[in-house]
């Protein structure tokens, strides 16, 4: 009787252990898939931000080109100055906003600092140096400033 119970207990324990093992195996696979999905999502974020940044950079370039061309052609009168000045400032703001979003993602660890430091360290620094007036105390581009400070110190 006791021997039969021991065998029964052993079988139940073995079945329980097997069920637990197969469940753990499934959870492991699901975690692996989740990690892969997260990587893909991060890559999507990066590609989306980079696409945005590039298209806004092109617009900023176009605005600058319009100003320079108007000056060369001698058509930069008061009205043109206002129109092109507004266009230039709007495209600049749009480009800086995209860069600020990238820096936000880096600051909040949505994307890896290490991966982007090499690529954007000089760019961020050059932009702040060339547009000092946009990165003063009241600047809305806090993430760019923070990222630059961190990258220049380390």
């Amino acid at each position: 009787m006791s021997f039969n119970m021991d065998i029964g207990t052993f079988i139940i324990a073995a079945v329980g252990a097997w069920i637990a093992y197969s469940q753990l195996k499934k959870i492991n696979v699901q975690i692996g898939i989740a990690v892969e999905n997260q990587k893909t999502d991060s890559l999507k974020i990066v590609l989306e931000i980079e696409t945005q940044m590039n298209s806004r950079k092109l617009e900023f370039d176009k605005a600058a080109k319009s100003v320079r061309e108007a000056k060369n052609k001698g058509t930069l009168d008061e009205d043109a100055l206002e129109i092109l000045g507004d266009y230039f400032n709007a495209t600049k703001e749009s480009y800086f906003n995209a860069l600020d979003r990238l820096c936000y993602c880096i600051e909040k660890d949505y994307i890896s600092d290490k991966d982007w430091r090499t690529e954007y360290r000089n760019l961020v620094h050059d932009i702040i140096s060339s547009y000092e007036e946009d990165f003063g105390e009241a600047s809305p581009y806090n993430n760019i400033k923070k990222t630059n400070k961190k990258w220049q110190q380390s």
Partner: protein, 81 residues
């Protein structure tokens, strides 16, 4: 230089240089150092582009040109206002 036998070895070697020794040098210096290493091998242009982490530098160079272009426009706008 550590042993580099395949194109993949070369690519990994350069990537590690970017991450460590060259992390804080300018893009121009990176390009020079990168070219110096790559010229030691007989590579086709496709192999060269594959091995070199050039995309990083190209993005930076492209942004520099934007900064030059827009800074000139900014000067014009500031002077005329």
């Amino acid at each position: 230089m550590r042993e580099v036998r395949t194109l993949e070895d070369l690519r990994e070697y350069l990537a590690s240089k970017y991450d460590t020794e060259w992390e804080h040098i300018s893009v121009e210096e990176k390009l020079e150092k990168q070219a110096e290493i790559l010229c030691r091998f007989e590579l086709s242009s496709e192999e060269y582009n594959y091995a070199a982490p050039l995309t990083l530098a190209l993005e930076d160079q492209s942004a520099k040109k934007t900064i030059i272009n827009t800074s000139k426009a900014k000067e014009i706008l500031v002077k005329r206002k």
